[in-house]
């Protein structure tokens, strides 16, 4: 499959996600964790659950600091399956040399979307002895990708490829066409600062924003009120995160072990008393999607089903998000 080409229809990178957002559709993103092995079939199998049900799928970058297949390699496997990837890139494991190199490599393989994040601290993963890199932070990474895309320029000001020494000579610059995503957590502390940080990421160049999983709707409403108050919803596409769970235990686990989560006790009780917890998990997820869709400024939903990819078609269908738009051309999902 040929990579999506920019400049057609005034698009910046020409990704399916960009087309969906540009056309004003309510976007649907999925999420996949690459396998803890070199097995490509794990990605291929998982991709089947997302095909035609989402506009693009996130490939996590060694999430929770557990070693997994590279998000870029996994993304290429998705492209080969006809599924558009969003690679996640953390600042935890690579310095600026490796990150810029991987961004060029990802673009060369036809990847067109990147989510720039700090990354879970290495102490949470399976190599707590590892050195955290954090050469640059997520805001700086966002600005870097924009520089590589718009000015064909690296962090140090050099061009891609390097500009000729004689400025009168022509320079065949090669931009790195990547739609830039940022993460936002409306549930971390201090609450007022979360919108400030979002504003900073959007000012640095984020085209779209994916939020932490939403269970606490009133708090997310307040977050969106503040974001709209600053006009942030007009500057970047805010995509609301949802995470379907199969049991109340998963909620309790996140409540006590995942920093920056807000999970109402009523929800835990509802899941615990459900006859069929899996079915109730889907009901809750669909209700949250319907609720966030009504909030002004929310431009899409990001479904994160950890180890439960097969539930995605049902959630998307019941939330009334099918069929997904198609645009013809190289990014069409078949």
């Amino acid at each position: 499959m040929a990579p999506p080409s920019p400049n057609a229809d005034g698009l910046v990178v020409g990704s399916n996600l960009e087309r969906v957002l540009r056309a004003g559709h309510f976007a649907v993103c999925g999420e996949m964790g690459p396998p803890q092995s070199s097995n490509p079939d794990a990605i291929r199998r998982s991709a089947q659950h997302f095909l035609g049900k989402v506009d693009a799928v996130n490939l996590t970058d060694n999430q929770t600091a557990i070693v997994r297949m590279s998000s870029i390699a996994a993304a290429k496997l998705c492209i080969d399956c006809g599924l558009e990837p969003i690679i996640q890139m953390t600042c935890r494991d690579r310095n600026r040399i490796a990150m810029q190199s991987d961004l060029m490599g990802a673009a060369a393989l036809g990847i067109r979307n990147v989510l720039c994040i700090s990354g879970d601290h290495q102490c949470f993963g399976n190599h707590p002895e590892a050195r955290g890199v954090y050469d640059i932070d997520s805001v700086q990474l966002i600005a870097t990708v924009r520089g590589m895309r718009e000015r064909s320029e690296l962090m140090n000001g050099e061009g891609t490829p390097p500009r000729p020494r004689d400025p009168s000579k022509p320079w065949a610059n090669v931009p790195t066409p990547l739609l830039v995503g940022a993460a936002a957590n409306p549930f971390g502390d201090p609450f007022e600062f979360r919108v400030v940080r979002l504003a900073k990421k959007i000012a640095a160049g984020a085209d779209f924003v994916q939020t932490q999983a939403i269970y606490d709707l009133p708090r997310f409403q307040r977050f969106m009120d503040m974001a709209r108050g600053r006009g942030l919803h007009e500057k970047a596409a805010i995509i609301a995160g949802v995470l379907p769970v199969k049991s109340h235990k998963a909620l309790l686990y996140m409540k006590s072990n995942v920093a920056g989560m807000s999970i109402p006790d009523e929800l835990v009780a509802r899941m615990q008393s459900a006859q069929n917890a899996e079915e109730e998990g889907v009901n809750v997820c669909v209700e949250i999607i319907e609720a966030v869709r009504r909030i002004e400024g929310v431009r899409g939903v990001h479904i994160m089903p950890p180890l439960w990819e097969k539930i995605v078609p049902e959630i998307v269908s019941r939330a009334g998000l099918l069929p997904r738009p198609t645009f013809g051309g190289p990014t069409e999902v078949k």
Binding site: H121, C123, D135, D189, A199, A259
Partner: protein
């Protein structure tokens, strides 16, 4: 100041091996303030070594001394005699001190008794700051107050919260661990000194 932690006793025993004459040398500066490598801690370590040897049926001799600073050449002469006597000098100073004493005494064996950890200020005795946030505490260690939370609160309190929105340019790490060997010359003091301003 430089903050350090005492190495586990087992690790110190491994470092010492068969050494019979051991010098435990304390530093009266940073490691004294962070309660890891001052005279008191050095004396404690020396006693621990003596008791351990006695229980193991080994004969060792342990001397103790202390210097104002291990990271300053002018104080190091005071070590010479004890160093010549000792098979090994166990230093409770930070890594800077261990390296300088080794440089000045290249034939002597100098070993660290502490792990140098970070640069920090004293907050309350027994508590030192570090880095995410949930209810004001660090996500990595729930007992530790989040430095970012503190920064945000302080700037809010001073009416300077707009500064939080300033884009920080990418950092030059050369003055940190990534820059290789570093030195700073105070030109006014050493102007014209051929040994310094080579």
């Amino acid at each position: 100041m430089i903050v350090a932690d005492r190495k586990p006793f087992e690790e110190i025993l491994d470092i010492l091996g068969d050494a019979e004459r051991i010098l435990v040398s304390a530093c009266n500066t940073c490691v004294t303030v962070c309660l890891v490598g001052g005279r008191r801690e050095a004396a404690l370590l020396a006693s621990q070594l003596r008791i351990h040897a006695q229980e193991a049926g080994r004969t060792i001799e342990v001397r103790e001394n202390s210097l104002e600073r291990h990271c300053d050449r002018e104080f190091l002469d005071a070590l010479t005699e004890d160093l010549e006597w000792a098979d090994v000098m166990l230093s409770t100073a930070c890594g800077v001190g261990v390296n300088l004493v080794s440089d000045v005494n290249p034939t002597r064996r100098i070993a660290p008794a502490v792990n140098t950890t970070f640069l920090g200020a004293t907050d309350v005795p027994g508590r030192w700051p570090c880095g995410g946030s949930q209810e004001g505490n660090c996500e990595v260690d729930k007992e530790t107050p989040c430095a970012w939370q503190d920064i945000i609160e302080r700037l809010d309190g001073q009416g300077r919260s707009a500064e939080l929105e300033v884009f920080e340019p990418i950092k030059d790490w050369r003055p940190s661990h990534a820059g290789g060997r570093r030195r700073r010359i105070v030109e006014e003091v050493f102007a014209g000194d051929p040994e310094v301003s080579e």
